[in-house]
Symmetry: D2
Subunit: 324 residues, 4 copies
Amino acid sequence: MKEEQEFKLDVAHIAHVELLTPTLQDSLCFFRDILGLRVVAQEGKSIFLRAYWDQQIYSLKLTESPYAGLGHLSFRAQSRRALERIVHDIEDSGLGMGWIDGDYGHGPAYRFRTPNGHLCEVFDEAKRYCAPKENLPYLKNQPDVFLGQGLNVQQFDHCNLFSSDVDSDTRFLRDVLGFRLSEVAIDRDGKQTTAWLHVTNKSYDLAISRDQTGLRGRFHHLAYRVDSLEAVMRAADLFMERGVYIEVPPNKHVAGQTIFVYVYEPGGNRIEVCSGGFLIYTPDWETVTWSAEERRRGLAWGTQLPASFHRYGTPVHEQYQTTD
Amino acid sequence: MKEEQEFKLDVAHIAHVELLTPTLQDSLCFFRDILGLRVVAQEGKSIFLRAYWDQQIYSLKLTESPYAGLGHLSFRAQSRRALERIVHDIEDSGLGMGWIDGDYGHGPAYRFRTPNGHLCEVFDEAKRYCAPKENLPYLKNQPDVFLGQGLNVQQFDHCNLFSSDVDSDTRFLRDVLGFRLSEVAIDRDGKQTTAWLHVTNKSYDLAISRDQTGLRGRFHHLAYRVDSLEAVMRAADLFMERGVYIEVPPNKHVAGQTIFVYVYEPGGNRIEVCSGGFLIYTPDWETVTWSAEERRRGLAWGTQLPASFHRYGTPVHEQYQTTD
Amino acid sequence: MKEEQEFKLDVAHIAHVELLTPTLQDSLCFFRDILGLRVVAQEGKSIFLRAYWDQQIYSLKLTESPYAGLGHLSFRAQSRRALERIVHDIEDSGLGMGWIDGDYGHGPAYRFRTPNGHLCEVFDEAKRYCAPKENLPYLKNQPDVFLGQGLNVQQFDHCNLFSSDVDSDTRFLRDVLGFRLSEVAIDRDGKQTTAWLHVTNKSYDLAISRDQTGLRGRFHHLAYRVDSLEAVMRAADLFMERGVYIEVPPNKHVAGQTIFVYVYEPGGNRIEVCSGGFLIYTPDWETVTWSAEERRRGLAWGTQLPASFHRYGTPVHEQYQTTD
Amino acid sequence: MKEEQEFKLDVAHIAHVELLTPTLQDSLCFFRDILGLRVVAQEGKSIFLRAYWDQQIYSLKLTESPYAGLGHLSFRAQSRRALERIVHDIEDSGLGMGWIDGDYGHGPAYRFRTPNGHLCEVFDEAKRYCAPKENLPYLKNQPDVFLGQGLNVQQFDHCNLFSSDVDSDTRFLRDVLGFRLSEVAIDRDGKQTTAWLHVTNKSYDLAISRDQTGLRGRFHHLAYRVDSLEAVMRAADLFMERGVYIEVPPNKHVAGQTIFVYVYEPGGNRIEVCSGGFLIYTPDWETVTWSAEERRRGLAWGTQLPASFHRYGTPVHEQYQTTD
């Protein structure tokens, strides 16, 4: 009852995502020249990038690797105490891995894996982003200058993981990290096929989708937000023009009601550019459950997603992965 | 230090606003036929309205009264325990008034006044909105059907109070209710002229502006959100066409960076239609302080707000009010 | 050479389209309540409607009929002399039918058929639209008040005919009526599959598509324009909400580069809501020819049109029609 | 009567504008890096630029000069015969200057001055723009690749001249060049203060405004079009960010109903970025006349234009000019 509504509110948001890519320079061109991200640092085989409205110093760490996929997913805790509570619960769950010293731009982080094997971390201390003097925005409540560059994506929006067992990952994210389940799609057996979870007022910060190949721990996509529905169409125009593979052209999701376009960046990772969607303010939001039958209606306006959307993930080297 | 970052996260959001109007039927036409709100109930001299994406059963209670202004401002607590903590802190502040039995659509509420005298309440139990059977939306994660009616405003966005002492109100909202100060404008003496405060990820849910008339406890405006920047311009077109007084045509705020248009509804209350703006995700957001000198640059693109914006509030019957 | 560029500039634009519908009242609801057209007159079994920016007194004549389809297509000549030149050329072509006295809102019209059998007319004298006194727009350069009603479509945009012999119709429209061919799609034999033709600066006012059923003289669709790309998506939302069948959700055409959504109105006729696209100003525009191979790339962002787009037309009563 | 409606339709559109600037490199940066125009050629002290949807090889010739202002305004005729008819009429008017050999990208042009002294030319033969091989657009009906660069302005839209005698210039443009007067503002004496004239379906291609300084032959502004109303606001954001002086922030014109923003490019010339507005299709459009009283209502939503809008023009070196 009411007691269940005493949510954990300890994870503030997703701070950044590390993406692995076998083609670091090409991936860099995609994110910098097409999406309009800016490079804030480069260390070893990694490049750190930010959107101009990102509030963490970077939202994307691109790391050269033999194969594409998720490096790690990083959460920012609300406070030191919140971090302590989260780590305590992760350790209880048996999925904890231990502390690392930190990475570019943030302090010590506790690392763990989701039940399906995605590497994650949570931290609280971070360096604040300060735009370089020669590049200060006119409005100082904005972290970075607006440059009019490529798609000018504004902010990291969400991450979507592939999983061979969505229910387990969802349970972990809810019970241990305090995510709330805004919407969920289920199959005929009542098992989750996609779960949309949030810690902010966005209807989702993190989604988990069933990997129909049965592979474990793969990456589905991450999304950057643009400031209007038509900017999503302009994104498709630029992708078309630059020869970026468009897997799903602009359309409207049922869950979250965002307008989206899906492409593959040169390294092979699926990337979404999105806008719109709704925010959840009420504390008594009831999870919206979509049956297999309801999901058969397709996207909001009736289009079906392509089969690849349910099978293509990174790494694509299937031999590298183990199935359940 | 860190300890200060252990925010109170007990107020979920603003549930609704009660507006007083001397011209109930005309005000109803404005909100229903022009903004596109829907009537959910009528009780005595009050009409309860909602935007189609509002998550509480209503966001506006319009009450007939000899003069315009704020009836009350209503907050929804995150949970029963959160409500208990909030009430405890209000009582400690000496501004508590006591419990009422509830109102249409929600349970018992604790009433109190801001230091400047605005009537407020906080509650936790509420009836969930269920769209009538003949009017169910096609997408069931949406609370209400989309009708294509007037401006089709989506959701209540924020409320702005006038105050003869912004600092006191801000301190109360932060210390007692757990609001965070995202941005603040100050005069040469360091006193606050406008404060923007949030409990959700929006950059502000509530703003307090200095009432240059020196009157206490007046209402400045409330805002409904539309889904695009150009919908704000379409709003101005419809206001122009219907003879609604436009006090400030579409333009861009510095604080919050929203695109807005300000009008007076027939009862005299100032209403804003807005879109855009930014969300705050990071827990270490530092309040952005705008000096008197910086504020002299005007709105984002250089326009100055009209003098009325700093002096016109409701009630306009100045004799009714006492100055500090 | 140059001589060929001395275009006939005698047809000003498409004045209106008469659509036949077996369900007059339901069709009326679609055009009036969803698209936002206004009724200007009713005579016998016909209702005359206009969009608020239409410059002729009406752009749509809806007529009750046992089957759906095109009633007639009506062109406005630039002047009396222009009309005389046009009629002379039509009579020369052998496709002329003769004068009618006129119809609601316009004077004598000369009737003729396209080679594929579509009924057309051309006239020059028309009654100017005057908004009723109680409904005058605030800006008097606008023909009609803006009401904020349904999709608020602005203006009739173009008409698309189905034809069993596109080449013949195109030749007639170019040679006799002075249309210019902005773009054309051809099959492997070099025969036209779709032709886009214009008399205004729009890249097309009239399109002719091959009817893959081989039927003659059918109607493919007509289009109304909305004022932004995102209004096309809002249109899809309203169609979805009202249960209107969406044949093709919002997407982008290659030819004309318009953003569109296609639906069937209750009478069965295909209707498009569109925005964007380009205008042709230069007199030396060279027809853009799309080969069968190029057309296989699908819509601008790679989506394929459904098979129905090439086979579904009105009337659907195939027995009524004769094939070539 | 009807006879008067036999319009001259010989001028196709404005082909390009030559702007003079005392700061060629800074002006180049403005047009190329902020507006997103592309350089197509450089000859002597002139740089030729185009927007990616321009249909002539260039729409802007930037020429270094001691002062800012109009170099010349260039019209493209519909055909060789149309050109002959136009030249004949100009010569009749007594304002003809004679033929020049042509300029970059076009053939022989006939030069003349408006009554107020603006240098103009008209030509018919031009080189067609061919995008360089390495930069071909994906959609071949588009003249140029979409680069996602600065404001990505689409196309030259219109030019506005300052004049000490609007009536005379208007009469010349109508009688000699075949422009039609879509809208006109008049003072109490019935003299024109601004005239909006068109040869395409745009509601204006050329406007003439009264220069309240009484100077002759100055330049008011030229406009490039962006593809949405919100792109105008994005333009204002980029201008703000880059320190470009915004004379009038985004707002809506009464005449033409375009959404606009006005800035001064580094050379001092006023530049507009616009979107929206209406097209005129009907041949019986009656000129809309705005009285001095109606004009006092300001812009569409009630804002007044700044005084500079009626007095600032280029060249600003007032000593250079002679008054009437």
